[in-house]
């Protein structure tokens, strides 16, 4: 009789352990050591960062549209960068990467504040190793904001024609100095009426875990902000999907309730 009870207890423990393993929330990755500022063209490689990103993941050709009269290249600035920001295609498959792996990515300093047409072949090759990867990243929104008028959006004045800047961190109490900027664009948001900046801001206040899917992009325009308000100039831009962890399941933001509790 005692043996039977012992067996039942052991089985119960094993079943509980298996259930916990299947349903635990995604744990944030431990930070990868290393500086987050730009590097010269001969970039040192962080093995941990490269390990998170597959070497030969196929790159999709960006699909673009004219949006409310605004062409993919925008109305000014770097037309090549604007075309990448304005892509509307959604990835068929994605690479789940820890947020800290994006923070650990390097970039050539020669890419900063330069139009892509002015990049050398070596700089283009260096950036192309990771840019354009379809990634999904899990973390926490710490802040969300509607940006000002910009050239990719033809300097549209109203909110419908502006990007959202969202700062994402591995844990809800991580400083923005260790954040990755992820951005929604007007073109993609047009397909997601349930995405509102108010909902994004509520997620930040509520410290709810979020998962964003989108295209990895090097935005060379704000290196001065690294170490001040962000951890890197690598971005997920544009975001193609936003999900919220709700009772152990990932629910699209379009359907998730973010009402204040």
């Amino acid at each position: 009789m005692r043996t039977v009870v012992a067996v039942i207890v052991v089985v119960a423990i094993l079943v509980s352990a298996l259930w916990l393993l299947r349903h635990r929330p995604t744990a944030p990755a431990s930070p990868v050591a290393g500086p987050t500022s730009g590097r010269p063209a001969q970039t040192r490689r962080a093995p941990e960062a490269l390990g998170a990103f597959p070497a030969d993941f196929p790159r999709a050709e960006p699909r673009q549209i004219v949006f409310d009269g605004c062409p993919p290249q925008g109305d000014a600035g770097d037309p090549d960068l604007n075309r990448l920001k304005n892509r509307i295609d959604e990835p068929d498959s994605t690479v789940a990467v820890p947020l800290d792996s994006i923070l650990a990515l390097r970039w050539p300093r020669a890419a900063e504040r330069r139009d892509r047409a002015a990049w050398s072949a070596a700089v283009r090759r260096d950036v192309a190793r990771h840019e354009g990867l379809p990634v999904s990243v899990t973390g926490y929104f710490v802040r969300g904001r509607t940006e000002g008028p910009e050239s990719p959006n033809c300097h549209g004045a109203d909110a419908r024609h502006r990007d959202w800047h969202i700062w994402m961190t591995a844990t809800p109490d991580t400083s923005r100095l260790r954040s990755v900027v992820v951005e929604t664009t007007p073109r993609v948001r047009a397909r997601h009426p349930g995405w509102t900046i108010a909902a994004v801001q509520r997620l930040a206040r509520q410290h709810r875990q979020a998962r964003v899917t989108g295209w990895l992009l090097l935005d060379p325009e704000h290196p001065d902000q690294v170490g001040k308000t962000r951890g890197t100039i690598w971005e997920v831009h544009p975001i193609t999907a936003i999900e919220v962890l709700t009772r152990g399941r990932w629910v699209p933001l379009d359907q998730a309730s973010t009402r204040e509790r």
Binding site: C70, D75, G148, S151, C154, G156
Partner: protein
């Protein structure tokens, strides 16, 4: 005493334009014209435009809902 100063001026400009038209060039040209036409109101000063460029600073420290102040 002869004096000199370098001023930074931040302008918020709105207007109607075809979406694909270069708003940066249009507004840059307009500001040069405005400064040039306004010089006569202060003939005691010699105003030289050193540079006009879009303010692309991220201003990430600004609070949410940043909007420019309307002039006038």
């Amino acid at each position: 005493m002869r004096k000199a100063i370098r001023l930074n001026v931040v302008l918020w400009i709105e207007g109607e334009q075809e979406a694909a038209a270069n708003f940066v060039k249009a507004t840059t040209d307009a500001v040069r014209d405005i400064v040039a036409s306004g010089r006569s109101s202060h003939p005691e000063l010699r105003v030289t435009v050193k540079s006009i460029a879009e303010d692309e600073s991220d201003d990430d420290d600004e609070e949410e809902g940043r909007e420019g102040e309307r002039a006038g």
